[in-house]
Amino acid sequence: MSDESNAPAVMTFEVLKAAVRDGAAARLGRLALAGRKTVIDTPNYFANTSRGTVPHVTPDNISKHLQTGGAYMALEDFIEKPQQYSTRRPPIYDTPTPVPPAKALHNFTAMPPSVITILGARRLPAVPSPMGNSNKSVSVFTSTGFQVLATDEYQAAVQALKPDIAVPLADLTNHTMTPTSKRALRMAERTDDWIKAWFAEQDAVNAEANPTTRVSTFAPVLPINYSIQWEYLERLAEDHFHSLSGLAVYDPDVLPDIASGYPDLLKLPQLSLAAPVTPHHVLRQITLGIDVFVLPFINAVSDSGVALTFSFPPPPSQSTTNPNNEKTGTPGILPLGIDMSSTAHQTDLSPLVDSCTCYTCTSHHRAFIQHLLSAREMLGWTLLQIHNHAVMANFFAGIRQSLSSSSTTTDEEDNEFTKACAAFHTLYEPELPAGMGERPRARGYHFKSEGGKEKSGEKGGKRNKPAWTKFDDEKVTATGQQSSQPPN
């Protein structure tokens, strides 16, 4: 519940303890948002959303069963233009805000007041656009297709929606391929132009605004070499430092250079939008100085029917054996999660993780989750989401605990947190297990199908099995498994 009397008037971030060494390194911090009572101890994570919801989790369950302090939302999830109503104004802009603090994004999405909202233009991860960006706009992907989003339109949206934190537009390719140096230079120049315009307006708006509806700006750090974007970073450090509330980092490997070039920027909270794919990657980014993460992999893992099982610091290695790994002859290596769709769990009445205190583990058991996944009941994904978010929340709590008890005087090698990280990398498998569970239907805004691959089933082809096929006696006998899913 937000309680304005206890809420700070401006966003504050304090570094409680910079572990190990100065510069870009793991650290403990505390983030307090303007107008919200929620205090976020860092390192921590924010939930990723799809169309304003944490997938499969209704808002009442978010308040009751998720520990997340924030939710990342993408403007492209709210501004589609349906073909028959292509001129309509996106309804979200007309959200009434009868109760202060007047935050339209919160009201529209029914996000509990205890959860802060972070608005960016694109989903995480973003579908690359074939059109590319221009000097005055970026290309975004809505549920009705690609659309142009002008820079001033984005800023107007931020003003209308009043997220707690906004990430200004960055000129990104959203491609796994590294951009050419010419493209990288243009990325830096455009983003620099856009940030100037952003603050010109934002500073004026914030000067007028009621502190409780002030939007905090987390400026993007681009996923390109420091040497190409230093001028942009210099502008942030020198011209806009006092209007900046944090950095939205698309590549944490730039942070060591920022530490030497513009150390003041690291006084700000560092939000990773680099979408680490495993907890190992999360730990690495923490050691580079990231404070808060948005983690798309949690939902991907739940959708694949996997329950996360790791903890930090890791359990002592001698007491652990991994039955799944006997064949590779490397005892002691633990999986990061369990594929709950496996029939091995069919009659297993134990919780997903023995010591876990989440709703799923205290009220249900493996046999039920296995049944739900096998029957493709939506509740399976809901219960996995609740558990997997609990595992992540505990993972970050363990990291904070370890950081706070780490000595800052000893050598980096002897530091408790460093040793726990090393033990984690040794004990756990490098990759998350691939769940064999059938995933929820992928929707048009989740991916872009690519021509020519429709039939082949390779990446980019059809993502969903056809829900219905022609009734055919021979087929029924041949593929009996398919028809064992009658409607209710």
Binding site: T53, H56, A110, L349, H371
Partner: protein
């Protein structure tokens, strides 16, 4: 086995695993309010039972379902027999334990799905013969097998295997055969039922739309003294007038101190009219299925929230509704969901389906709660009038089957 007590204040009757207590009777219609105490606790009748087909109520956690006030929901024997299967159910210790549901469960016999979902199901005296959906091999569902499955599930109320025929079938000979066979199968079910001390077996009245055949079936079934009685074979496309006649004919003959369950009924009008005709329990997949198509059930009718007119409608799903979706955020556990938000995510994110499912289940349960209060206060006719006034723009739009059926039990909706 069946002991009826008639006391000055209340009337109640119990069998080994069930107590039925009649709390109030409407002085005009046949509506009744009662308390049915089952192995997993008491439930208030009349009531609607939502359907958790595969041991899950379509995305709702058992905790959310419990919060709607639901204390008795359905599982389908046919589905649980396929997944997770009888062996797993035995190993886990039944369906309550499987789904973490500490309240009551009712299971059907499995026969209805065999007939409705499977091609080439043939019915013989032995049982229902069909092709396995797993491997196409011939299989047989007998009354004994159905009891065995439902004993493994451990449901608080089990249904007999019956010979179901579409009520509109013109074949009177086949209809009589089905009715008589259902009676014989009940005897086999009673003989095969292993846990009569902790699971209740209900009989099912058959006989199509032939009222005499229904009366005959009632007499046969009642003589077998099951703890509860269902009226089956309806909601299969028959005219609503015929449906009402069958329900009214059966309730007239059924013993007062046993619960009466009309199977497969779920539209709000059907519930309100059936209660007036003296029925107590109902189930239907419609409220939860229609939620997944983006439809909200409200006291003003069914709204398809996917329609464009709701895109910027920032009102609650139903004005004045007390469900966790519709009540304003800020109250404990309440979400303040708008139609615009449901529209935004309908058919896109599962959350929209979950929210409408929650609302629709709440609506159905609350409708029966209100009906019960009205019966206890002896103002059920006024409740029925108000219900139809809210649902339809004017009296001319009232469905004639409803006005006719209600007139038969003393309510004239056209009275000034």
């Amino acid at each position: 086995m069946w002991a009826a007590k008639r006391m000055a204040s209340t009337m109640s009757a119990s069998s080994a695993a069930l107590t039925f207590e009649l709390v109030a009777k409407c002085s005009t219609t046949r509506a009744r309010a009662s308390i049915l105490t089952l192995p997993h606790g008491p439930v208030n009748l009349p009531m609607f039972m939502p359907v958790a087909t595969q041991a899950s109520l379509k995305g709702l956690t058992p905790e959310q379902l419990e919060a709607t006030g639901c204390r008795l929901c359905l599982n389908n024997t046919y589905h649980l027999g396929l997944k997770p299967g009888q062996e797993v159910l035995d190993a886990v210790g039944g369906a309550h334990k499987l789904q973490g549901w500490n309240h009551n469960l009712l299971t059907d016999s499995g026969g209805f799905q065999m007939v409705s979902l499977l091609k080439l199901a043939t019915i013989t005296e032995e049982g229902v013969r069909f092709l396995s959906p797993h491997d196409g091999s011939p299989m047989l569902l007998t009354p004994e097998h159905s009891m065995s499955l439902q004993n493994s599930i451990g449901s608080d109320i089990m249904m007999q295997l019956d010979d179901v025929l579409v009520t509109t079938s013109p074949d009177a000979v086949r209809m009589r055969e089905a009715m008589e066979r259902s009676v014989r199968w009940l005897d086999r079910c009673i003989a095969a039922h292993k846990n009569p001390d902790r699971q209740n077996l209900f009989c099912i009245i058959q006989g199509g739309l032939d009222l005499d055949m229904r009366r005959e079936c009632c007499r046969e079934m009642v003589a077998r003294d099951t703890p509860g009685i269902a009226i089956g074979g309806l909601s299969g496309g028959e005219a609503k007038d015929d449906f009402c006649k069958v329900v009214a004919t059966c309730t007239e003959l059924l013993p007062e101190l046993k619960p009466r369950y009309v199977m497969g009924i779920g539209y709000p009008e059907d519930l309100v009219v059936s209660v007036a005709l003296g029925a107590d329990m109902f189930d239907c997949v419609w409220p939860t299925r229609t939620a997944r198509f983006g439809n909200a059930v409200t006291k003003f009718g069914v709204l398809n929230i996917r329609r464009e007119k709701y895109a910027a409608d920032f009102g609650p799903i139903e004005e004045g509704c007390g469900c966790p979706c519709c009540r304003p955020a800020g109250e404990e556990g309440m979400m303040g969901i708008t139609r615009a938000f449901v529209h935004h995510n309908a058919a896109k994110e599962t959350v929209a389906a979950h929210l409408l499912t929650l609302h629709n289940v709440w609506y159905q349960l609350d409708l029966m709660r209100q009906a019960r209060e009205a019966i206890i206060a002896d103002r059920y006719p006024a409740f029925v009038r108000q219900f139809f006034e809210q649902l339809y723009p004017d009296r001319q739009s009232y469905p004639s089957w409803a006005t006719t059926a209600l007139r038969g039990v003393g309510i004239d909706l056209m009275d000034p």
